[in-house]
Symmetry: D3
């Protein structure tokens, strides 16, 4: 047996339940999504990752919607199927409309194209950008 298995609340040790409870309360959801159930195999990483996500994704200079769209753009760029699905849902919940989704995709695609054109033509950084 080598494939990780999800940990459900009822089978979770107390330190995992504490994180699950915090996620459920923070997000006002009845259960945590699969990502957290799998991370629960390593309670220290579950705790550290949740604390970091909570801090990083909190409203700040950017609002939660802007942050979720950036998260989605990175996940699309990396080709992480789970992350694309979960962060599309999260961005939707934070207010992403169909038109916004389409623009996130268009910008992400364009950036991936021009990143490679810059690589291939070996474009040196303009002095003005390096100050």
């Amino acid at each position: 047996m080598s494939r990780p298995k999800p940990i459900e609340y009822r089978d979770a040790p107390v330190e995992v339940r504490a994180v699950f409870d915090d996620i459920k309360n923070s997000r006002n959801v009845p259960d945590v999504n699969n990502f957290w159930k799998y991370l629960a195999n390593d309670p220290a990483t579950l705790r550290r990752t949740w604390d970091s996500v909570k801090e990083v994704m909190a409203p700040g200079a950017l609002d939660p919607l802007a942050k979720e769209m950036i998260y989605l753009a990175v996940s699309v760029s990396n080709g992480c199927g789970y992350c694309i699905a979960s962060h599309t849902a999260a961005a939707r919940k934070a207010g992403m409309t169909d038109a916004m989704f389409a623009e996130v995709m268009a910008v992400t695609g364009m950036a991936n194209e021009t990143n490679r054109l810059a690589n291939g033509y070996r474009v040196p950084i303009d002095e003005a950008f390096d100050r």
Copy 2:
């Protein structure tokens, strides 16, 4: 000789000058940055890329600042040095503050981390995210 060389306005054929003029007018800058001078080695790709960038980055459901920050996040994720430098500058020009820059970096870093945790734990997509 195999390294591409930049094409300056004074040496450029008429179809390249037309694109350079459009970039300078659209952005209100005295000269185009290196990316365009190198792409000018292929006038068709210069024209197509500029037309696409102009269309994709225009204000729409997302404002230009949000789009530039997404562009930056993707460039950071891909490790394109030129693109990180040029799109940090472009996002700054569009209004990105120090605090916003810091949050774009934090979200981009976090997304790259959790993308791999989801990969490694082979997390199946929640039914709710797949509808």
Copy 3:
């Protein structure tokens, strides 16, 4: 028809059977896994890849477990689903415990995060690291 098909031992030409036999003997397994059955569509690449894997993964300055965990970390970073599954199994067979797996994931996630923070902040290499 464009999707590659696996080559089973009974249908394999003699040079493929020779590689399959060597894999089965080296690993003490009754059959080769799918990766090799698909590579068998190109006997030269099958032979070259197996010879290289055998040389690279042999015990040396690093033991097979350390090598399998590095292989897994790279596969997770690249998001190769097949490779994550097969090298998790291989690392398990070489002795990776649940706790070790959790730490490989934590380090891989962390490295992916800090790689992007270094990219985004355009951190110059310390002189001491460049000697």
Copy 4:
């Protein structure tokens, strides 16, 4: 001005100095390396990243050398120049010999090759690996 600048100890606010002091004490070094000086532009990310790195890289089921070699392999795979330089140095300090370095590179190269062969041949996951 858009390129981030390093924050030196003498110019750092108190919460940054506290992290710098902890890094210097933990690693027994006279100064922190550039990565931390640049992250100091965002004290919250500096603190969160250092706390996470300290937790993740501590001796556990894997020793610090094994963890540093995994970190290096991921950084090489991602092509992060700064990270390759800093984690080669860190792994050296933790005991990586020339022979170990050579094997980390060989495994990392091989994994990147076979990851793409598995992608391109669209190899389905063996049932035994998916349990």
Copy 5:
């Protein structure tokens, strides 16, 4: 509901139908493949992407087969499952034989390996390559 849905011809607005018709005529196929049906959620991106693909993939200094094999190699390198499937089919249609497919895979795998060896050994660019 957050997963994008395909747009079929019968339900498509007139500007989408125009692109679908152009694809079907250009490729002499009875229906467009899924990629275009999903992009049709954003008619502007559908139009821009198709116009770009048509321009880029047209016979030029390179023939369509060479271009499709490059497209396939990049898709394999990026691990895009959909793109690997669709561009293997497209390359087959353009004349890619089994032997050619095997060589595209072998070169793509090799390049991914040596890219990382060059990264990890921090090989400086030869002066002759930088002119």
Copy 6:
């Protein structure tokens, strides 16, 4: 000291000299390029990599120019600076014209864009492509 150093012919052990001689003879060049001088720190990897490159890049169903352009496209996609420089030079030597270079870049850029559009829209593989 942690940065690898190049091994010059005059300082190289006999098994490294043998590989260097073979490279120089095969390519009809007076000296090997930096990649091989750095790999020479690990004679087994030097030997294995050269033997593999020689086998993979030999004329077959694809000619050397087609193979070098695929190698370049992958290197551009991965953002490996050394590899982009060396394989641009190699492709030039094999006959790549300015127009061919421009088309390799255009296809590589396009593929990177559409790979992400396919990821983000979660396009399912057409049944016809999966046979």
